[in-house]
């Protein structure tokens, strides 16, 4: 499927802010063989004084910009044309959980995809005893790693209510889980904590969801802003599989990946340093529209 994607993020400042440096992860990444970025661009208003591009440790494209003067408003606009293939719903060839450890240990690498990065505590996801206990309960009886991940994904979707107003970007996932309310970021962080507590490597995916569903299908939750889901390592044979706990499905043709990391910290679309005295408001909008052939 070919998508036209548009992501706009705007900040308004009550008083002029010394905006300094911003690190942006807004442009979709290439992900062979299923995702190809045919074209992409980032535009800024006002124009920054400096701009540079690079890839981060996990292979995500990063743009760094610098403002020289104080600003009262900044607007970042990303547009891209992305080809996303459906892939295949995988057959479960994952090992039983007790064999996963040996599978991880056998990987003598710290490359960006190595599962080792995705088991220890990360900046936003530390072990949480309540989530740990919950995960242990759900995992009972599941025969394979893949089965456990699927079961956790379904259970989380069942128990937690998607509610865009309930949490903020810095709400700890444990709070969201205690209230069983949250946005895609909370769903993802809870699921990552749950998987890691069982010894299953799990990472965070930021990206977009198709805005208008295919005919006859319901509109997915999380399509109005940047979305987030989970990638779980299901053993050496299956490798990384992406699960969307907010919608209880395996990510596929309707999902476009922007960045991968251990948690939100690694993939936040905008990280900036500001020196300001007043408050700020921000606005984010996303469109991901199917480009009709011809």
């Amino acid at each position: 499927m070919l998508y036209d994607i548009r992501l706009s993020i705007e900040y308004d400042y009550e008083t002029p802010a010394e905006a300094g440096l911003h690190v942006l992860r807004m442009v979709p990444r290439a992900l062979a063989p299923l995702q190809k970025v045919i074209e992409s661009r980032l535009d800024f208003d006002p124009l920054p004084a400096g701009r540079s591009e690079r890839f981060d440790f996990f292979g995500n494209p990063v743009t760094t910009i610098r403002y020289g003067e104080a600003v009262t408003r900044t607007a970042f606009l990303m547009t891209a044309l992305v080809d996303r293939q459906p892939g295949r719903v995988p057959d479960d060839t994952s090992p039983p959980l007790e064999d996963l450890k040996a599978g991880i240990r056998a990987i003598a690498s710290l490359g960006p995809q190595a599962p080792h990065h995705f088991l220890p505590p990360s900046p936003r996801v530390s072990p949480d005893p309540i989530v740990t206990a919950w995960a242990a309960g759900i995992a009972v009886g599941a025969a394979s790693v893949f089965a456990i991940v699927s079961k956790l994904c379904a259970a989380l979707h069942e128990e937690m209510v998607f509610d865009p107003t309930s949490t903020a970007v810095d709400t700890p996932f444990s709070e969201a889980f205690a209230a069983r309310h949250g946005v895609c970021q909370d769903f993802s962080h809870v699921m990552i904590a749950a998987l890691r507590s069982l010894g299953i490597p799990a990472g965070y995916v930021s990206g977009f969801l198709r805005t208008i569903p295919p005919e006859g299908q319901p509109r997915l939750e999380g399509a109005d802003a940047m979305h987030a889901w989970v990638t779980a390592w299901c053993g050496p044979g299956m490798g990384w599989i992406e699960f969307d706990p907010t919608n209880n499905l395996i990510a596929g043709e309707d999902h476009v990946v922007v960045a991968l990391g251990r948690d939100y910290f690694d993939v936040a679309p905008v990280k900036g340093n500001l020196r300001m005295s007043g408050g700020q408001t921000s606005l984010q909008s996303v469109d991901m529209i199917v480009r009709q052939p011809g």
Binding site: G20, D56, F57, G68, R105, A108, L110, H117
Partner: protein, 798 residues
């Protein structure tokens, strides 16, 4: 030291009574047979030749030195942190040079090995791919920083300044207890410890067989300086700030080496270049000696909550525009579990075993090692695998000799369940060395910290300087945070050592740029320091005038006294209390500002401020109103003048001194304008004009300049307009105008708004006559002077 010194071959038996070998533990003073090692004899003979009083005097000289130098460290306790005196253990540790050379060679090898490990774990990662190092050990290490993976440091080297903690085991051999690669502290304290110990044993020292320390610093300083590629850039020392436990050392080292002390906010990054915000605008910084843990160095890419970092620092490293000493991420090597793999890493990377072994360590994440630890926990300490503490610094979950901190035997399943996060280390009984306790030599456990610095010709080792001494015979009590102390280490040569100091090399001295750079934040602190001290002086003068009058009349209940009381209340020093809290607060603020710029301050200046503050506190507890208070304020006035004299007269005319002077001039002008406005007001009580002359410290001058009694015009003439009177507003404005001439010009501007304002004030005051100065005019002048600080900030204090 001459071992055959004839000096009265004193009997050592008294001195050594009660000093003996502890079972199963090596000793530095006594060999295995209990005989004194020859290297110690001169020191022991010297000690034995002193009577108790002479010895106390000698030891006190060291304490006095440290007190005078204001040497402290920050201690963290239940009730927050406090500054503690440097815990000196007076008796140095003595090591023969031949043995030291072996230690130095082994540690040089280890430093080079660690450099190779850094290059690997932030580069090719062969240690992981070849199965030498388990990947989890890096993946779970909070100091292994993914954002700097793949960055090759400018100049090619990761490590430039490292330290090793080493200890001697029961069989006499040395063991590495910890690798300090992040930002090792202590090298500055070692210098102070050396100088203090020198004071006690100068006679022994003059015999010149103790290896000197200064050459180490000179070589390291030259190396750092030579890493700057451009002429106008300087070496900065990056400190987390005054609340850090070793801030004293950061300021001390900056002053000693002539580098600029900076905090994260003093730096900014533009297009990959690291720049310092200085009063002369943005200046490039090419070499930064980092005394800040890596994770806090850049809130954009590392710890996002860091308030003490510099956004974009990692970007600057990526661009190769600056060198960090040490490279970011070097703390990864300090993790305790890494030690378990160092023997194999050494074999793999260098083909040779470690020249000095490190303390036996097991990472429980390896199943076989875990079971070994479970079976042998009785002779081990088990603690967090990623802890960077030394073997004797235990965390809350530590298991020591098989027992948890709650006193229960450890459950083997607890070890197995947390295996990947645990490392075990063999419990090492450290050797003992003499310390004085109750006037007697007593054996106490010790560990040495050895500092190494990279120079153009490879690593150089600081010959001695720093050992930790336990406060009981238990090796675990060696930590300074738990009452341990520090002693000097003398490496004793069998030949005469040439004295070395930093000052010898004129070439380097000449190369350093003339005025250096002044970070805007330091300028701000100096400006405020000048203001707070002057504000305090103004309060003290007025308080003294008040209490003199109360003393004269025995009452505060008459118009002039209540007039002064009103003024005092307006300036935050309500005289209801003999020593008002507002005055104490001003001095506290002054101390706080001074504390942030201690690297720019003479020790005498600092001490006189501390003394002033201490005296005030003492007075606050006992001084009563009237004569008693008046005399107390005279004492304070002399002390504050002492501070001003030390600072204003003796400080080199660096740009920083000008900010201090401007702060003082602004505050003095404002105080004088306020005083004049109050005392010349139509409703001012009789005696108010004389008060103004008195508080303005101008009684004598007034008598000589005017034949009449004080009136409105003579007061205004003398205190506002007379440029020859150093207390007058005119004089102060001229002083500020002169400072302004010497301040750097912002790019593309010929004058600054501050300078323009001082010129217009000077012009106005030169042409005014006392008759034309009305109350409104005084108020206008007050407003114009009041804006000077803001105008200065506009150009210099970003």
């Amino acid at each position: 030291m001459d071992q055959s010194a004839p000096n009265e071959a004193a009997d050592l038996s008294g001195l050594l009574a009660g000093y003996s070998l502890l079972p199963g533990i090596a000793d530095e003073l006594l060999d295995g047979a209990g005989n004194v090692r020859p290297v110690w004899l001169p020191l022991l003979q010297h000690l034995a030749s002193l009577d108790d009083e002479e010895r106390d005097i000698a030891l006190n000289r060291a304490d006095q030195y440290l007190r005078d130098g204001g040497v402290y460290f920050r201690h963290y306790g239940k009730n927050g942190s406090t500054e503690r005196e440097w815990p000196l253990s007076h008796i140095p540790l003595l090591i023969e040079k031949a043995e030291w050379d072996t230690i130095a060679a082994a540690l040089t090898e280890r430093a080079e090995l660690l450099e190779q490990v850094m290059a690997d774990i932030y580069g090719e990662n062969r240690l992981v791919s070849e199965g030498i190092l388990p990947p989890e050990l890096l993946a779970a290490n909070p100091e292994w920083l993914r954002p700097v993976v793949g960055i090759t440091p400018r100049g090619g080297k990761f490590l430039h300044h490292v330290a090793f903690d080493i200890g001697r085991g029961p069989d006499g051999s040395w063991w590495v207890l910890g690798d300090r690669t992040q930002a090792p502290s202590g090298a500055g304290f070692a210098l102070e410890t050396r100088m203090a110990t020198n004071r006690s044993f100068s006679a022994l020292f003059r015999q010149n067989r103790v290896m000197r320390l200064a050459g180490f610093y000179r070589r390291f300083r030259d190396m750092l300086q030579s890493m700057c590629e451009s002429e106008n850039s300087r070496v900065g020392i990056l400190t987390p700030g005054p609340l850090n436990d070793t801030y004293f050392e950061h300021a001390y080292i900056a002053r000693y080496l002539g580098f600029t002390l900076m905090q994260g906010a003093d730096l900014t990054v533009q297009d990959g270049r690291l720049l310092a915000r200085t009063v002369g605008g943005l200046k490039p910084v090419e070499v930064l000696w980092r005394r800040l843990d890596s994770a806090w160095a850049d809130p954009l890419e590392l710890e996002e909550d860091s308030q003490i970092g510099t956004p974009g620092l990692v970007e600057a490293l990526r661009a190769g525009s600056c060198t960090l000493v040490n490279a970011l991420g070097s703390g990864a090597l300090e993790a305790r579990a890494m030690m378990a793999f160092m023997p194999r890493i050494a074999e793999f990377l260098t083909g040779t075993p470690l020249a000095m072994p490190n303390i036996a360590t097991w990472w429980c994440g390896a199943p076989a090692a875990c079971e070994y630890v479970v079976a042998n926990s009785a002779r081990m300490t088990i603690d967090k695998a990623m802890s960077t503490g030394l073997p004797f610094d235990h965390g809350r979950d530590a298991v020591i000799a098989g027992v948890t901190t709650d006193g229960a035997p450890v459950n083997p399943d607890w070890i197995r369940d947390h295996a990947a996060g645990l490392a075990a280390q063999e419990i090492l009984s450290l050797s003992t060395t003499p310390a004085l306790a109750g006037g007697r030599l007593t054996p106490r456990p010790m560990s040495m910290r050895v500092f190494l610095a990279r120079t153009r010709n490879g690593w150089t080792v600081m010959p001695g300087g720093f050992a930790r001494i336990g406060h009981t015979s238990n090796s675990a009590d060696i930590s300074m945070q738990r009452g341990g102390s520090v002693c000097d280490v003398w490496v004793v040569s069998d030949r005469i050592e040439q004295p070395e100091t930093l000052l010898h090399h004129k070439v380097t001295a000449a190369r350093r740029s003339e005025l250096g750079i002044l970070p805007s934040s330091a300028a701000d602190n100096l400006l405020w320091l000048g203001r707070y001290v002057e504000r305090a002086e103004d309060q003290i003068r007025l308080l003294r005038a008040y209490h003199l009058r109360v003393a004269e009349t025995g009452s505060a209940d008459y118009p002039l006294a209540s007039h002064i009381a009103d003024q005092l209340t307006v300036i935050g020093a309500d005289p209801a209390e003999p020593v008002p809290p507002g005055l104490a607060r001003n001095l506290e603020s002054a101390l706080r500002c001074a504390g942030r710029v201690r690297d720019r301050f003479s020790t005498d200046g600092w001490n006189s401020l501390v003394d002033l503050d201490r005296t005030l506190r003492e007075f606050a507890s006992r001084v009563t109103a009237g004569d008693d208070a008046a005399r107390a304020y005279s004492v304070l006035l002399r002390k504050i003048s002492g501070f001003s004299g030390l600072v204003h007269e003796n400080m080199y005319r660096f740009t920083g001194w000008r900010f201090l002077g401007i702060g003082r001039a602004i505050e003095r002008s404002l105080a004088m304008l306020r005083l004049l406005a109050d005392c010349t007001a139509p409703d001012a009580p009789s005696g108010a004009l004389d008060l103004a002359i008195e508080v303005g410290d101008s009684i004598m001058t007034h008598r000589r300049r005017y034949t009449v009694d004080t009136d409105r015009y003579t007061a205004i003439d003398l205190l506002l307009l007379d440029e020859l009177n150093p207390r007058s507003v005119h004089h102060q404005c001229r002083a500020m105008n002169e400072h302004a001439i010497f301040l750097p010009r912002p790019a593309g501007e010929s004058t600054t708004p501050f300078q323009t304002r001082t010129i217009s004030l000077v012009t106005a005051l030169s042409s005014a006559s006392a008759e034309t100065v009305t109350g409104e005019r005084l108020a206008e002048l007050q407003a114009q002077v009041g804006e000077l600080h803001g105008l200065l900030a506009e150009s210099y204090l970003h």
